[in-house]
């Protein structure tokens, strides 16, 4: 007992302390309960009432895309589905009743399909539902004693005979197939009853009778459809699917714009660039539900509308022809000299209206040498026209001559003597042959390098003395870049795509290399940059922003008709080059001689055409590294064959640039000239055809407006 006494000395006190702590804990529970139930009780009730109002956003179709003449390039294809979202505690008999109702509106398949869908077990379950009492009696108490509910059910199904199953008439298979789908749905989660091959009639009749069909809903979604298949797809871009939803990286941005996580958004090309226009506004419907999740009221909070349509500047017919031309010429050139042309794999073309910047066609073909899995021989890589950067060669000489004239180091008509320049510290510099006396115009016509070098040396503040090194005053290279930038060479063209390359610009080279820039042998540019450059010369010095989208139009209900214009994408002049009109005219004359005068580098092929082209050829030396079988590296000379120009020379309506990198050296290829001839022929042939027959598939309205718009720009 003595021990107990000791224990008792601390136990009761400690227990009372423990009890006091427990009391405090319980008191805090009651306090918090009071806060939750009495202080905020009303709020909670309001919240319940509120959250039982569910707002549903129904997706609307994206805007379509049309070519400049109203032909559909990107369309939508509806995808319908009928879903079932069971409320809580729904009984098998309820589902059977629902299936009976649904069977009036939809079909789960024809006779053969139904026989495949409806299995023996489905028939037994159906029979059991109709004859529950009777089937139950077939199983005795003793048998089910140790069985779980599921096992008991299985046992009862087993007792249903073949004859009984066969007694179910075939007409009932429809509803059994529907019930089978309904049974698979779990509470409060939408389950798709049917989504493939839903006819418009089925969709509409179910939609009309939704209030009789508890838990049933109809939804529609859309897939992109491309009537011209792969054509121009690089620029059209793509959208995410519902599983990918909005891009994770920009999740907050999209969510802030009322997107849902599973919304499909543009992820590349025009789909991405014009996402905000194409997306439309979702229909917002508020469903008021009672606590059993039955819809008691629906209210359209906001009418949805389809996304606006884009009318592109592209002429899809021209685009197709240009693609074909580039593809054909590339294949031919490689077939002609397969070994020497082993580095030739790309050819790119841009055609645009030099006055407005509207891109008419943009093509890029890639020759696929590594074809193991049956891939095509030539693949559309047209994105390279704005992404791939290549040495442009002599095509940039127009910019050089304009710079020289503007700087006053060369006078219009002033002649220099084209001969090999020997500069200490660099390789000898000359034109492709010694051209003798050349002026600003003939230097372009005959493609004199020496004229450009001498102009550069003069701008650099130096004088050419044979066998002496060059010394430029500081800022010369920056001056070169400054002038080139005015034409868009080395800066962004501003095209309406999510991204573009801006060219490779070297840092602070020596004078001997600086003047290589002036013949297109130092910095690299994209095909689009070259097109912008030549357009700038073609339209008398205004650098316009190339663009692929011409108009934004409101959606139209009539599939044949375009909706009204919401916005015209106007011509944007980015800058006016500094050069005087008189100098620009000299360069244009030089460009005209290239094509139209004996001795011009592109003279000869255009005698039989009436569209009077002008422009400039280019050949850039480009070194490619070839890796041998044993890993040794060899430098191989190749040539970038290029061409820029416009037509007609006195009133340009189309400008173009052609870049074919890495043609074999010494194969005497004319692929740049051939492509140029073909695409100009195609353009003017189409124009002629249209003036005679009109445009195929063309919307009349659009035609008129088109004409008006063009007139405006002519001024």
């Amino acid at each position: 007992m003595g021990k107990n006494k000791k224990k008792k000395s601390h136990l009761p006190l400690r227990m009372n302390i423990l009890f006091f702590v427990i009391f405090l804990l319980f008191a805090s529970l009651i306090l918090q309960l009071g806060v939750v139930q009495i202080l905020y009780g009303e709020d909670a009730q309001e919240e319940i009432n509120r959250t039982e109002n569910t707002t549903i956003h129904t997706p609307v179709p994206r805007g379509k895309m049309f070519d400049r003449y109203g032909r559909v390039i990107v369309d939508n294809e509806p995808l319908y589905s009928i879903t079932y979202t069971p409320p809580k505690g729904v009984q098998p008999m309820d589902r059977l009743a629902l299936a009976e109702d649904l069977a009036e509106f939809i079909s789960m398949g024809d006779e053969e399909e139904l026989k495949k869908i409806v299995r023996e077990r489905d028939l037994k379950e159906y029979f059991y539902l109709l004859n529950e009492e009777e089937v139950r009696e077939r199983v005795s108490q003793e048998e089910t004693e140790d069985l779980s509910g599921g096992e008991e059910y299985q046992l009862m199904l087993d007792r249903i005979t073949e004859e009984e199953i066969d007694s179910i008439p075939f007409e009932k298979y429809q509803l059994i197939a529907i019930k089978k789908e309904l049974d698979q749905a779990s509470a409060l989660a939408p389950h798709i009853i049917k989504n493939e091959d839903i006819t418009i009639e089925e969709y509409a009749s179910v939609a009309e009778h939704l209030n009789q069909l508890p838990g049933i809903n109809v939804t529609s979604d859309w897939n992109r459809k491309y009537p011209y298949e792969g054509t121009f797809r690089n620029y059209i871009g793509s959208i995410t699917n519902a599983e990918q939803g909005i891009p994770r990286a920009n999740q907050d941005y999209y969510l802030s714009l009322d997107y849902s996580r599973n919304d499909r958004v543009g992820k590349s090309g025009l789909e991405e660039k014009y996402e905000s226009i194409l997306r439309g506004s979702k229909e917002k419907i508020r469903y008021e539900t009672d606590k059993r999740n039955n819809i008691v009221n629906t209210e359209v909070v906001r009418e949805g509308s389809r996304g606006d349509d884009l009318v592109l500047s592209i002429d899809i017919e021209l685009q197709q022809q240009v693609d074909e031309i580039v593809k054909k010429r590339l294949k031919e050139e490689i077939a002609r000299q397969p070994y020497k042309n082993r580095f030739l794999e790309d050819a790119m073309v841009v055609m645009m209206d030099p006055n407005t910047g509207e891109v008419l066609a943009v093509s890029g073909m890639y020759y696929n040498r590594d074809r193991e899995s049956g891939e095509p021989e030539v693949v559309d890589h047209s994105y390279k026209a704005i992404q791939a950067q290549h040495l442009p060669g002599s095509t940039v000489k127009g910019a050089t001559v304009l710079m020289a004239l503007q700087e006053g180091v060369m006078k219009p008509g002033e002649t220099i003597y084209d001969r090999t320049l020997r500069i200490k510290g660099t390789k000898d510099k000359s034109s492709y042959r010694n051209l003798g006396p050349v002026s600003d115009v003939t230097a372009l016509q005959k493609s004199s390098n020496v004229y450009m070098f001498l102009a550069g040396i003069r701008i650099g503040g130096d004088t050419y003395i044979p066998n002496e090194p060059l010394g430029f005053k500081s800022g010369t290279y920056e001056k070169f870049l400054y002038y080139f930038n005015q034409f868009g060479l080395g800066v962004s063209t501003g095209i309406d795509m999510p991204s573009e390359a801006v060219g490779v610009v070297g840092q602070n080279p020596g004078p001997g290399t600086q003047i290589d820039l002036l013949i297109g042998q130092y910095n690299s540019y994209t095909t689009m940059q070259l097109a912008q450059y030549v357009s700038t010369i073609a339209n008398d010095g205004y650098r316009v922003r190339p663009h692929l989208v011409k108009e934004i139009r409101e959606p139209s209900n009539d599939t044949e008709q375009l909706g009204p214009v919401r916005e015209n994408i106007n011509t944007t002049v980015l800058n006016r080059i500094e050069m005087d009109q008189e100098y620009i005219d000299r360069v244009k004359l030089g460009f005209q001689y290239v094509f139209q005068k004996q001795g011009g580098t592109a003279y000869g092929s255009y005698n039989d055409v009436d569209y009077s082209p002008a422009g400039k050829t280019g050949t850039a030396e480009n070194i490619v590294v070839e890796e041998g079988i044993n890993g040794e590296k060899e430098l191989i000379d190749t040539e970038n064959l290029t061409m820029v120009g416009y037509a007609p020379h006195d009133n340009p309506e189309v400008a173009f640039s052609v870049v074919v990198p890495n043609v074999g050296k010494g194969v005497s290829s004319s692929i740049n000239k051939d492509i140029t001839k073909d695409i100009l022929d195609a353009y003017f042939e189409l124009k002629k055809e249209r003036s005679e027959k009109g445009i195929e598939d063309v919307n009349e309205n659009l035609n008129e407006e088109e004409a008006e718009v063009s007139d405006n720009y002519e001024e």
Binding site: K3, N4, K6, K7, K8, H10, L11, P12, R14, M15, I17, L18, F19, V21, I22, F23, L25, F26, S28, L29, I30, Q32, L33, G34, V35, V36, Q37, I38, Y40, G41, E42, D43, A44, Q45, E47, I48, T51, K88, G89, G149, A187, K291
Partner: protein, 389 residues
């Protein structure tokens, strides 16, 4: 003395009240449930089974429990260990936890629930023996006692964290904390230790909320592991998972207001409302009044058990009672606390009321111990510490 005198009638009536509350609440809960099983009937079955167990346990004297304690504790440890290594066929992973043995014909049992009782038995024995051997207490002997208590408690906790079942592991800490207070350990040790635990806990909690980067950087703990804490503090921001549960629970209890919506009047659907969130159903349908009544019944139970402990003339019985009190208190406080946003959500049922086989049986076994203490309290009418009824 007659059976009528030895039987603990008060405890019996308190248990009867809890049983009634349980049946009513579960009945209500399954009305909005996705399950078709009748959990009320099953709960009644469990209670009947539990009554037999209690009757059996009542016949065993506390001194015998003391003698058996290490054996059942050892057996319990072996079972927990077996659970760690058992194949998925008999110990399936359910909701990411490997806490159950699947016994064919019987169903699933959760060993960690029963281990709580065994731990109480051993802890009580350790304390009694230690105090017997160290009649002259010093800080040093108290420290040794503290180490013993922790050793006995942390052994099963380690195994339970393997499952992992954080909630149940916490219950063990609750039991331990209660027993440390009454074991007679000097305040010189208790206060600094509890203070230290509080400080560490507070710091971690602060870091979780204010500077999760620090935890990630120095402790390698990922933010999502604190998901339940974020969900607790800002349920509307973390609406999936635990945040959703909490929102629903608060809506249900809150909208019950003062007097509730009446039996069967629940509107808010709460997943698993018949188990861990049974209190939300009570709060919604019977309001503040009903919820307080339930808390009051628990308080009466605890008051009764404390009285039993104070009056026990065999110190082992007193400690066992305190262990049971600590366990029930922890369960009740944690469970109700999480439904009213006082505490983060953990998977701990409300004792005697939530549906659940293992947990209910284990709790009833704990009550069986209390019945036994009362039943074998032969001289309590004449004890020197008798508080008059």
């Amino acid at each position: 003395m007659t059976f009528e005198e030895r039987f603990d009638w008060r405890l019996f009536f308190i248990m009867l009240a809890l049983f009634t509350i349980s049946c009513v609440a579960i009945y209500s809960a399954i009305q909005t449930n996705q399950y078709s099983d009748n959990y009320v009937l099953r709960q009644i079955m469990w209670y009947i089974l539990g009554s037999f167990i209690i009757a059996g346990m009542m016949m065993i004297e506390p001194i015998q429990y003391k003698g058996l304690s290490w054996y059942v504790y050892g057996a319990g440890m072996l079972v927990l260990l077996a659970l760690v290594v058992a194949p998925a066929s008999i110990a399936p992973v359910i909701n990411g936890q490997k806490s159950w043995f699947l016994l064919p014909g019987i169903g699933s049992i959760q060993p960690s629930e029963f281990m709580k009782i065994f731990t109480i038995l051993v802890l009580s024995r350790v304390i009694v023996n230690h105090n017997k051997e160290n009649q002259f207490k010093t800080t040093k002997t108290d420290f040794v006692l503290l180490m013993k208590i922790m050793g006995v408690t942390f052994a099963p906790i380690m195994l339970i964290m393997q499952q992992p079942d954080f909630g149940t592991a916490l219950v063990y800490l609750g039991i331990m904390s209660g027993l440390i207070i009454v074991a007679g350990v000097t305040w010189k040790l208790i206060l600094p230790i509890y203070g230290l635990i509080g400080a560490v806990g507070g710091t971690v909690f602060y870091l979780v909320i204010q500077a999760p980067d620090v935890l990630r950087k120095y402790l390698g703990i990922q933010e999502y592991q604190f998901g339940r804490i974020y969900a607790w503090l800002e349920p509307y921001k973390y609406q999936s998972g635990e945040g959703y549960h909490l929102i629903k629970s608060l809506q249900a209890i809150g909208s019950g207001m003062l007097t509730g919506k009446g039996f069967g009047g629940g509107e808010v659907y709460i997943p698993e409302s018949h188990t861990d969130f049974i209190f939300s159903v009570i709060g919604e349908e019977f309001g503040f009044v009903g919820a307080c009544l339930v808390i009051l019944v628990f308080f009466l139970l605890i008051y009764h058990l404390i009285q039993l402990a104070i009056r026990a003339n065999y110190s082992y019985s007193a400690y066992v009672c305190v262990g049971v009190v600590s366990m029930i208190t922890f369960h009740v406080f944690q469970n109700i606390g999480m439904t009213v946003q006082l505490l983060p959500i953990t998977g701990i049922p409300l004792p005697f009321i939530s549906y659940g086989g293992s947990s209910l049986l284990a709790n009833l076994m704990a009550i069986g111990l209390a019945f036994a203490v009362h039943y074998h309290q032969r001289e309590f009418m004449f004890g020197d510490n008798n508080l008059q009824d």
